[in-house]
Symmetry: C2
Subunit: 222 residues, 2 copies
DNA sequence: GCAAAAGTGTTACAGTTACACCCATGG
DNA sequence: CCATGGGTGTAACTGTAACACTTTTGC
């Protein structure tokens, strides 16, 4: 097994690398997170995979999302890397956002389930802290970058988007101000589609993949 | 060698983990970064150490700073973790801020040197990109959190602090606005000390270790 | 025609920027 | 007494927050 050519270590320690993914979605009007049952510990854990030799960290994270949700695309962002001196493993943690409607695909045989972020089961080790941190980062991110639509289907109404923000941030937002800002930010664009249902039909919007966004963007929400 | 109890991997790959630290300081009125000569490659690299079994990631980063600067305390923050599928090593990158005046301590025998961030030598691999990213993160951080004083001695004048910000952000700031904001933010406090020299003596300030700061703090600078 | 959700502008306020002069010391 | 850097307040402006009614559809 080759060593990195750049750093020669004295006692050349080797580690297993675990890639964990905190997967968020929006179900039943609540922000929920995917957890994996670990009966041997009588507790739940954030789903993860050991890094294999032939995949990058992000590919492994994506594969982890696929394994537990059936989705082969998701918004992924690296969160933090934890290294315990005790056990010789290092944990690289990502967070992912997946749209709830696409989750009909059955889960893997593995015993994973969704939990609202405010009513979590007992978690192993420091996974509770990691979740808390992930949630904080998600809220921060939302405030100045507008990733909310990652939790929605490709086409969505502004009311749905606003509701997403309200659920995650945990506060009511002003409808007119919300629309003005989100449109001024230029990250979504209106489409000819409309959603019909109760009340007046809603114009549908979609993400503009070419949006630069976030670069030097002011905070969008208070 | 034990495996992590949480994730059982099929082909149980093991990796060397390299901890790199992008060390920034302020010398000669320029933001400078510490680099390590790698004559075999004819290029320079970000200083790093292989993670040993008995240290945490952050401890290893701190030790790396100590090795190359002689400083046993520094502001440290995790930046990003890079995983190449090619070579079987994973790189956890930190950035550090060290006050220039404390650097009189001689460097390790290793061939490390300081370079202004705008005139870098050839760098190995993706270290140039990593540096660019570290610099962006430093600027972001400075804008809303006020870590500038980490580059200054314990006691400093407001003019020195302002100059620090101007050098890093690359733009002139208004003296009165700067003072008002930095004081309102409540992260530094005035001390009885004064610095004498040319012109009127300056009141000296120091960091308030008890400052909560940054939590929900608005951006401090444009 | 009414219930239900979508859509739309303006005003008051707060925070930010721009700006110029006096002060304390050392030489 | 003068050169040098330290220190101070206000007014115009810009961005943000608060707010209520009209529109379109399904039933």
């Amino acid at each position: 097994m080759d060593k990195s050519p750049l750093i020669t270590s004295n006692h050349s320690a080797l580690f297993q690398i675990d890639v964990y993914v905190v997967v968020f979605t929006l179900r039943e009007n609540r922000l929920q997170v995917l957890l994996n049952d670990l009966p041997s510990a009588g507790a739940w854990q954030i789903p993860g995979l050991a890094l294999p030799t032939d995949l990058s960290l992000e590919e492994t994270a994506a594969q982890c999302v696929a394994k537990y949700t059936g989705l082969h695309e998701a918004y992924l962002e690296q969160l933090y890397t934890y290294g315990d001196p005790d056990r010789n493993a290092v944990s690289v943690v990502y967070f992912a956002l997946v749209p709830a409607d696409s989750l009909l695909t059955p889960l893997d045989e593995s015993a994973a389930d969704w939990f609202p972020v405010d009513t979590l089961p007992p978690l192993i080790l420091d996974h509770g802290d990691i979740l808390t941190y992930a949630l904080r980062r998600l809220r921060y991110k939302l405030e100045y970058s507008a990733v909310g639509f990652e939790l929605l289907p490709d086409y969505f109404s502004l009311s749905e988007l606003q509701s997403t923000y309200e659920i995650i941030l945990g506060e009511k937002l002003d409808k007119r101000n919300f629309r003005r800002r989100i449109l001024q930010a230029g990250i979504i664009e209106s489409t000819p589609r409309r959603r019909t249902g109760e009340g007046r039909p809603a114009q549908l919007y979609r993400y503009r993949p070419d949006a630069v966004a976030e670069v030097k963007a002011r905070r969008l929400f208070p």
